[in-house]
Symmetry: D2
């Protein structure tokens, strides 16, 4: 093996960040900078030229921008043969179809688009989906700060739907519940047959508990999130994985294992 | 001190049990029997004579019978100068007035009537009442087996009312909650301004959590009950205390400290 | 399709239980009896003839006996072409080899031997193993009644070893811990680099919590077991699966999915 | 009542803050500023004159400085007839004696010195002390970030000692524990007969759980602290109470109720 090859084997992945001055982008820049196997070669924001990012030799771009610019960014990345990890929201099925079209012409390029880069939340949903078929009962209790507008949270609603689908597939009937005398609301919201309770209290940040019950035992999966830095391990995981996954990957799920 | 006095100082309390063959009564008999400072001198059920209980020299009677016979039992106990500890349900304000009337004629006799002999549950309610004034937010999550008919549980409703009263007394306003987009029921039942969530799942027995929140911290008081034997320490506490508490005592609360 | 075929398609699995009068065996008989797709055709204990079990047409035998008789039982089952689900303890690697030898001569017969039929516990260990590689920190807290002789529990020790192996495989270094001033024992037992804490308290039954931590978030997997009936769903799962799994299957794990 | 008196009745308490630029002092200034019934009239740090604080008419001083200057500050406050709320550490019994001496000469002045202004933590300790006599079993599990040097935490050790004293006073014997086969450390640290377990994991902040157990039930008191702003309600409580409590008050405990 030549020296060049040896060096190449351990060379850091060259990363560019779009939306680098936003709340998430700032954290991404710090996280990339701190990772020994990654190198931050470009950090661009609104007024910057995308050309500078490719000029800097970025192999992977991380995009935490806004729905109005993310499609142009992505098109440009794919065109340039740069892999992309995208946390920006607003991806409709139509938008995803357009991305798939661009990628069809660039078979070596990978794009990961994920609505949630929190590894803990993603694992919680995976485990809950997997456990669902083995337990007669299941309920979700999510807990957030009182400034939150929606109840239940998007994550809780999504988890409930995944569980409901897994129960249906396993042929499970309705969750047993003899309640005949209820003060309105006590039994929570019904999301596809799964009861979801939303607790709001000062001091809380973002928490969720999925409780499974069978005769004589319960299994509880709980996720506590305190800070947006908790998304960084998921972003870095995607950065490291995207080069080996040509085409479009949706959600962090597919990258776990 | 004579030998007689010395013996007297450590003599076991002589206890009779009414409703001795019922589920609770059976446990009470076992618990009294196992306590070194108590002596089970009589255990009576439906067809037995109350006279046998006084003939056996009972100083304290424990009554876990039914609403239709408990008033006669109590009247007879007070008449005979026997102290009583009562776990039977169905005590209206009217019934309590009658008991007070009987006791007025027998100033040395004590009667303890308690709806809940679970020390853990009673302490949970005491602590929740006491903490209420110091926290901006509070919610209750109770968890029970799915055969339960009412939601929320009586204990949860009672706890919520105690908390609501303590908040009002301390001049606290409503619990903060910005929810504007709610799937019906997600935010639980509203009991006097306190949100209460009722979880039902196979495998659960009887559990309750009271969550208090202030900026940067939460305080949680949780009670898990698995078995009716958990009521026995409360019953024995009352048996030991009732002789020194003439008149009517309502609830285990007053006996703690 | 003839009536005979139609019936065959939905015919109940014919089950025999060995050790039918023991604590576990009694529960197994009840559970098989209650399952619409299973039929209890024989329940044998010490003095009973195994011949009666095959005479009754058992297709699957469940064995919760003792280490001194289980090998004879198993040998006989395999010989008769009866599938077996075994919860009896005491299987050394040597014993397992002998079972594999018997099965080699009967390629259609399946044997499932599992140390733990609790689905919740098995899933907890699966999920913990899977999450291990994604979190910098991990600790285990197990909680049991105070009559337990060993600390930590076998399940906690086993979970810690699974996690340690998964961390090693993922190239994770030691769990971060700056403790320099420790009262002996405060940081728990060290099982392969994973800290395990054993809580003992009256009122508890059998509980375990695995806590994973990364920057800004924690993921907790908790199992609460209250009763030996909690093992029945796992036993029934094995009974239903064993006919389609010739050879030796170790642990319930392999049957999930 | 004259207008003057009426105004006086609702006049804001005039507060000065010493150590105003420190981490805690900064938060105190913000909290006082935000409270409608308090007025921040002076905020001093190292190079500032204490004279400015009295010139500004401070009635109550809050001191979050350092052990080397706090005694001089306190002496000066008492001399000036200004009440003081002190969160600075380093108060030995000797120092407290000196403060009591100064206060003896100024009977109208109040000083509150507290090691912990977290209401949640203080209530947790109060409730734990109160519950201790009613439960056969008790253990403490505290959980902190992995940069913490001591294990268990000071709060956990203090809680254990309070519980041990309450058990001794109630005549309770040792906590039941049949452990005969222990991996070193599994059963935690022994603090006065109470087992204390210290969990360390990235993602955690500062948490403590006190678990009480009796036959068939457990009672758990849990405190989660995320942020030093959680101490502010306790500081403000002391500021409001100190004027009505001449002499030395140790700990926030005495001010609750």
């Amino acid at each position: 093996m030549t020296e060049q090859q040896e060096k190449g084997a351990t060379e850091a992945i060259r990363v560019g960040v779009l939306g680098a001055h936003g709340r998430m982008g700032t954290e991404v820049c710090k996280a990339v900078d701190a990772a020994p196997d990654l190198e931050l070669v470009a950090s661009a924001d609104q007024s910057d030229w995308l050309g500078d990012v490719s000029a800097a030799g970025a192999e992977v771009v991380v995009d935490f921008t806004t729905p109005d610019v993310v499609m142009d960014n992505l098109h440009w990345c794919v065109d340039q043969g740069i892999h992309a990890v995208v946390g920006t929201t607003g991806f409709t099925e139509q938008r995803l179809e357009r991305v798939r079209g661009w990628l069809a012409d660039k078979p070596g390029v990978g794009v990961v688009i994920a609505p949630n880069f929190g590894l803990g939340a993603v694992l919680m949903m995976q485990f809950a989906t997997r456990a669902a078929r083995y337990f007669e009962s299941v309920e979700i209790v999510e807990q957030h700060h009182p400034r939150k507008l929606d109840a239940p949270s998007g994550t809780a609603t999504h988890t409930a739907r995944l569980i409901a689908a897994a129960r249906a597939e396993a042929g499970l009937g309705p969750v047993p519940d003899a309640t005949s005398d209820e003060v309105a609301g006590a039994r929570g919201a019904d999301i596809g047959g799964v009861r979801v309770h939303a607790v709001r209290a000062t001091g809380l940040v973002a928490h969720q508990e999925v409780l499974f019950g069978a005769t004589g035992e319960t299994l509880t999966i709980r996720h506590d999130s305190y800070d947006r830095v908790s998304f960084m391990p998921g972003v870095l995981l995607a950065v490291r994985a995207v080069r080996a996954r040509p085409g479009l990957t949706l959600g962090l799920d597919a990258l776990l294992d």
